[in-house]
């Protein structure tokens, strides 16, 4: 390396110059705005996952309700069966076709007298 280059390199390497005061303010501002952007992004990410979780919960709950509802026999059917079940043996006799025919036959015999 020539003497000129050596001299220029040593001049440049040893040089120190204070930058304007505004430079640090600008850096500080940039760093702070970056921090707030990162915070906002984090918050948005939390909100995103929270909304996903909430949606999943709603879907699961609705599916469960629909599934269980479809498995339960409607009340009116249950009631109908219960009525029949409540009739009992004696009452059942009244509704029996055989019994009706018997009553009808007896009524006919009685009227023929």
């Amino acid at each position: 390396m020539s003497d000129s280059y050596k001299h220029i390199k040593s001049l440049a390497d040893s040089h120190r110059e204070e930058p304007p005061v505004s430079a640090w303010d600008r850096i500080e501002y940039k760093l702070q705005s970056e921090k707030s952007t990162v915070k906002k992004k984090k918050l948005n990410l939390v909100r995103f996952w929270f909304s996903i979780a909430a949606s999943l919960m709603v879907i699961v709950t609705c599916s469960y309700i629909i599934y269980t509802e479809s498995r339960i026999t409607p009340d009116y059917n249950q009631g109908h069966i219960a009525e029949w079940e409540d009739i009992g043996i004696e009452t059942d006799y009244l509704y029996s076709v055989q019994a009706a025919r018997e009553i009808h036959r007896l009524t006919d015999i009685k009227s023929s007298y």
Partner: protein
């Protein structure tokens, strides 16, 4: 001293504003000097300094502590300067190497100038000359490396350096002939 710097680095990685300020106070005079050498004026140099420090603080996690910390930061500053130059300037670097070699070189060695004069000389250089001169003479890169960094041919890098040297010698000659005394 080293442990103090390490402490500052660790705190900076955690985003401690006080540590960032002390790192800035320690190194900004050096880096502002670098920016001044690459840029045409002080406003551009300040912009670059801000950009460089912002990059340093943002990429602090990437410093693994293996090499010199100052060297690592310096590379960021120089790269920021080169990126800015590429973005804003048409370097117009295509100069015939033969023509550059044919220029008669002055025998004068530039050995008695001060930093202000050096800055003035560099400010007057076209962007391409100044950039190659900075990278070759001051940063110590080889022409092959400069060619890679700037995306130019090795011959272009060589020709730019010769032309820069020629310009600077003209400036130096003028100064010695007393043209600059009136300034």
């Amino acid at each position: 001293m080293q442990s103090e710097t390490n402490n500052i680095i660790i705190r900076c990685k955690k985003g401690d504003p006080k540590a960032q300020k002390s790192l800035y106070e320690k190194y900004s005079p050096i880096f502002y000097g670098i920016c001044l050498r690459y840029m045409k004026n002080r406003t551009q140099a300040e912009d670059l300094l801000v950009e460089s420090f912002y990059t340093i603080f943002s990429k602090m996690d990437q410093y693994k502590g293996t090499g010199s910390f100052e060297g690592w930061m310096k590379r960021i500053v120089v790269n920021s300067c080169l990126m800015q130059i590429r973005k804003k300037n048409n370097l117009n670097l295509h100069v015939d190497l033969e023509n550059a070699y044919n220029l008669k070189e002055e025998a004068n060695a530039i050995t008695d100038i001060n930093h202000a004069e050096l800055l003035k000389m560099m400010e007057d250089l076209p962007t391409g000359y100044r950039t190659v001169f900075n990278l070759y003479v001051i940063e110590g890169y080889k022409h092959r490396e400069i060619a890679e960094i700037m995306g130019i041919s090795i011959n272009t890098s060589k020709s730019q350096l010769i032309l820069a040297k020629k310009r600077m010698q003209e400036f130096y000659k003028k100064k010695h002939n007393g043209f600059l005394r009136s300034n």
